[in-house]
């Protein structure tokens, strides 16, 4: 069954993916150079068998293979969520935020965007590139990044969802070229 295929997962790939994401979350807002991280490996590395996951149709279309062994559910029931940057603004309110006694139940969200950059590209104004400044634990001072392919209402929605720490959800943004950024719930995003 599906468990058998999970057994054959390459331990080196999941390990390296896990370290990339852990580094991204430890130093939020810092752009991680393209590495091994893909949606499939994200789910494999952070979704032990039995994890409830939710993948939007758009996200699924961008993925080569959907790893087996997890339970697919709706967003409000999921521990892992994979969605695209263009739909995440609308979905933010549904994402589990955990509870005061069990904040770890706030979901881990992988957001698929187009481009992540440290600086501002020349055609920024035309193609909806957003620029953010990140502060909080893990950031020595402040860190800036730009992103294209993310709805511009998401930052506000995210702030709302994470307003009552420890409740909230944690995100990794993954660009098409494999660059990534971590945004734990406590990281403050300012435009």
């Amino acid at each position: 069954m599906s468990l058998v295929s999970h057994l054959k997962a390459d331990p080196f790939q999941t390990q390296q993916t896990a370290r990339e994401v852990i580094a991204a979350m430890s130093y939020p807002g810092r752009i991680l150079a393209p590495g091994l991280l893909t949606p499939a490996l994200f789910v494999r590395s952070f979704g032990p068998v039995g994890t409830r996951i939710s993948m939007t149709t758009q996200a699924r279309a961008m993925i080569d293979e959907v790893p087996l062994g997890q339970r697919h559910t709706s967003i409000p029931e999921a521990g892992l969520v994979v969605a695209t940057g263009s739909e995440i603004g609308a979905l933010s309110d549904e994402i589990p935020r955990g509870s005061l006694s069990h904040p770890e139940e706030g979901a881990l969200v992988l957001i698929l965007v187009d481009v992540l950059d440290a600086g501002l590209p020349p055609d920024a104004a035309q193609n909806g590139t957003l620029r953010f400044s990140v502060t909080g634990p893990g950031v020595n001072g402040a860190r800036g990044f730009t992103v294209r392919g993310l709805t511009d209402n998401w930052a506000a929605r995210r702030a709302q969802a994470n307003a009552e720490f420890p409740m909230g959800y944690d995100c990794v943004l993954l660009a098409r070229d494999g660059a990534a950024i971590g945004l734990p719930r406590l990281a403050r995003l300012e435009q």
């Binding site: 580094a23 770890e104 634990p137 950031v139 020595n140 734990p184």
Partner: protein, 292 residues
């Protein structure tokens, strides 16, 4: 170096199966995202006994990769029986390189000591934790202490500290000194000396805590504020080492541990033995382990 093998001796690289590793990895991630909160996780048995660092080992084995250089210390010493044993375990299931040099290690697993050498970004320190909950001193029930953490209700803890000052004129806590992380959660930093707590505050490195028997993982992310609890007129203080220096290297800026001499007096030594050796100009050796 040969390409690392996925399976050897019936076990995958780093011994743990993918289920266990994924369980630990997601707990580590949540711990980083909720600084100071004790994340419950499954914590299956590993070949090291409970109480001997199983939680720290689970974290190390779930995070380690072929390029990692690891260091393992116990009470600051790379050569205690337990440090040697854990190093053997990790070395034999990974075939990685082990080092005594804290500045070159990418993963440092430690019991009761933060390395004295300055740490840098990208390094991960894994502390072995026996008592993840700072409230367990006076609250036996997990359900009750969970509620206290949830509501940031630390009144009872402050009261205990206050009573200690009234009774003895001092906050009578040696190790396991409670600290407040990012003004939200009180965390038990394990039995590291109070001396080490400033090393954890706003550090470039990531601190992870593994309590295998109690099945909790918690974290102090890099560049995070940790504040040991104290009062304005009885603030937190590190151990008083006035007039004491290491008998071997002369250091007065590292945590010193006593050895009882035959005359009943104390001799003081750096507890971080590799730090001490480096100060004396010794070369800190690496060992290349072979996968069993």
């Amino acid at each position: 170096m040969n390409a690392p093998m996925a399976q050897s001796g019936g076990h995958p690289y780093a011994y743990l199966d993918e289920f266990m590793k994924a369980s630990v990895r997601v707990a580590v991630l949540k711990a980083i995202c909720i600084p100071g909160y004790q994340v419950p996780y499954v914590s299956e048995e590993v070949p090291i006994a409970r109480g001997y660092g199983s939680g720290g080992l689970q974290i190390t084995l779930s995070l380690i990769g072929p390029d990692d250089i690891f260091k393992i210390i116990d009470e600051g010493d790379d050569e205690t029986v337990n440090a040697v044993n854990l190093r053997r375990m990790v070395g034999e299931v990974t075939g990685n390189t082990a080092t005594y040099d804290a500045t070159r290690a990418t993963l440092i697993q430690s019991r009761h000591k933060v390395p004295e050498a300055p740490l840098s970004e990208g390094q991960i320190v894994v502390l072995q934790s026996a008592f993840p909950d700072a409230l367990r001193f006076f609250e036996r029930s997990e359900a009750v202490s969970r509620r206290m953490h949830a509501e940031k209700d630390y009144g009872k803890l402050w009261l205990r500290l206050y009573e200690s000052v009234i009774d003895h004129g001092e906050i009578m806590i040696g190790g396991r000194y409670p600290v407040m992380v990012e003004d939200r959660y009180v965390l038990d930093p394990t039995h590291v000396p109070r001396w080490d707590l400033p090393l954890m505050d706003n550090s470039p490195a990531l601190f992870l805590f593994g309590a295998g028997r109690e099945k909790r993982i918690y974290a102090v992310p890099p560049y995070t504020k940790i504040e040991p609890l104290g009062f304005e007129d009885h603030p937190f203080r590190v151990e008083n080492q006035t007039g004491k220096t290491c008998r071997l290297c002369g250091s007065g800026e590292s945590y010193l541990a006593p050895i009882l001499t035959a005359s009943g007096a104390y001799d003081w030594f750096c507890s971080d033995t590799s730090f001490c050796r480096a100060r004396r100009g010794e070369h800190l050796e690496d060992t290349q382990w072979q996968r069993q």
